[in-house]
Amino acid sequence: MQSENGFYGQYGGSYIPEILYSSQQQILHAFEEAKNDPEFLAELNKQWQQFSGRPTPLTFCANLTEHFGGAQIYLKREDLNHSGAHKMNNVIGQGLLVKRMGKKRVIAETGAGQHGIATALVAARLGLECTIYMGAKDIERQYPNVFWMKQLGATVVPVTTGAQTLRDALDEALRDWSSSHEESHYLIGTSCGCAPFPEMVAFFQSVIGNEVREQSVAQFGQFPDRLYACVGGGSNACGLFLPFLDDKDVEMVGVEAGGKGLELGEHSIRLSHNLGQPGIAQGFATMFLQDNAGQLQETHSIAAGLDYVGVSPIIAHLAETGRLKMTYAMDDDVIAACTLLLKKEGIIPALESSHALAGAFKDAPNLPKDSKIVINLSGRGDKDIFNVAKAVQDETFPQFLTDYLAAYPTNHADNEEQKA
């Protein structure tokens, strides 16, 4: 979606410290050139295909459709990307842009670690130095992802300020960029931040919706009647929705994280029920969860990837103008939706994507039998093994962890002993 000077209605823009002005302008110009350069686009398509496995399929879910007895349910399988999520579409695009700008290092923020891993993968492949900022609390919750980032050669910096989660990681990434802008690119993971990041990330993610346009016509002879996507920062939603923006018959539903309840601090609902307020922070204007004094507040979701205080200015604008309908799913509904998909279709969804499932499952029984809905399955759920095990109260898991720990060599001496 084209912005007006970086703005989408009243949202977006570029509110950054003066020190970042030149670097921001450089990205603005580089992106403008790249997106109109056939050679760049050819390379992008090649990498999407050969490195990430695109196009991803559009999968019909016969059992779920029968189960609900309403709309015909299709999944866009972004979980089948390399790294297991749609994040790959964006990091490949920005990675190629970094090479084009001649920079040697990338900085990224990550919440759950999906964007961190995707960035580390691309950095390794393109020979870029890579520093990932991650809240110390998120590192505790998502250590397996941290482990892989390190194995891929990235430096993972724990952020210990504030609530020690994604918002703080983003602040710290901006601070790094303020000092390292000459040789480093800030590879932001979602369609947020100062212009041109929202537009650029949405552009790279739009491959999702563009594929759905072709696949839907090929598989069922029309565009979908309705699209569903979860909305954290908003990049997978932008990716699915934006290519259908001008197709007025295609309805769009964004699903936010209702978390544990509607009290401030228990959820990440920014765009419905008057829970978010307009604000300007972290480089851009959007709807933020904040108090009356304009201080940003804590958020919660069972899915770390949806646990963000702001939201894409593009999504905020589309929600405000009514093009996009916003709803939310509570943690419990999300686990139920995840479990249902596992049992009915043999697909393991990420908890983020399970929000989109939960939103769609609520509507599906009431939709006409000949209607077609497409749910963006933005990521796979392997990474959520610990959280899901806890949520479904798996009885064997604690024993596995205990046994694993008992057998784990805890110091160097033990290692040596084992070798000997």
Partner: protein
């Protein structure tokens, strides 16, 4: 000429370089921060830059970030802050107070109301590091109506045309960021090559009729000496906060005396 620029010009008749010391409002408590400001003014600092805390201060380094987060454990109110600063301004007519914050808390308070209330309390300058001049028309108009100065920042990597534009629009004083990175000591200090500070300041002076303040990374006497004759104000932020954290008001005052003797 603006009230702030006039004040600076007059003071500069007596001093080679003026001091601006930074204090986080509400750190470690509102009362303590006000007492610290009062002490600084008693000791004769020329300016206090009061930072109204924001949860996400992206242009600041670890010392100031930690102080802001600590301060925000209390509920802080912009209007109350301005009233309290106004009282200090009245009691110490030989010094001036400027208010620094980030856009969001000020935007929520209302930029028009902010300019009006600041002027009422004799706070003559406002610094909002995340509000670029391109988005600032309303804010600039509000400042103008109320005869106070929006303070703009320039940096060593600001392109020449933009530097000329910012310098020409500067009123009160121009905040010259001395290096890349965030405030204070941190892992995010600029490592990249940059023009020498002397050349940088000379370049700004070509375009700026407003007085010049220099900040970011100042913590030694030699750095202050280097600014004499090239700038009007030396801005002391994180170094002062670090001294205060280590040895309270006395350590802070000692640092100021060492730097500005």
């Amino acid at each position: 000429m603006s009230q702030l620029a006039t004040f600076i010009e007059e003071k500069r008749q007596q001093k080679t370089i003026l001091s601006m010391t930074h204090v986080v409002y509400g750190y470690p408590s509102v009362e303590e921060s006000l007492s610290w400001m009062e002490r600084l003014m008693q000791e004769g600092v020329d300016f206090i830059e009061v930072q109204f805390p924001f949860s996400d201060p992206v242009a600041d380094g670890p010392s100031i970030v930690a102080a802001c987060h600590k301060a925000l454990e209390q509920d802080l109110n912009v209007d109350t802050c301005l009233s309290q600063l106004g009282k200090l301004a009245k009691n110490f007519p030989d010094s001036r107070i400027v208010l620094m914050s980030y856009l969001n808390p000020m935007y929520r308070f209302g930029l028009d109301k902010l300019a009006k209330r600041a002027a009422e309390e004799n706070i003559l300058g406002l610094i909002l590091p995340d509000l670029p001049i391109e988005q600032a028309a309303t804010y600039q108009a509000a400042c103008k109506t109320n005869h106070i100065d929006p303070v703009w920042l320039v940096t060593p990597v600001t392109p020449p045309e933009r530097l000329a534009m910012l310098a020409s629009q500067a009123s009160g004083f121009l905040y010259c960021v001395a290096r890349s990175g965030v405030t204070g000591h941190s892992s995010h200090e600029g490592k990249a090559k940059q023009t020498s500070l002397d050349d940088y300041l000379a370049q700004i002076k070509q375009h700026a009729s407003a007085p010049m303040g220099v900040g970011f990374g100042l913590r030694e006497r030699a750095q202050i000496e280097q600014l004499i004759g090239k700038a009007d104000i030396a801005i002391l932020g994180s170094a002062l906060l670090d001294a205060y954290n280590q040895g309270g008001q006395e350590a802070g005052i000692k640092l100021i005396k060492d730097l500005f003797h």
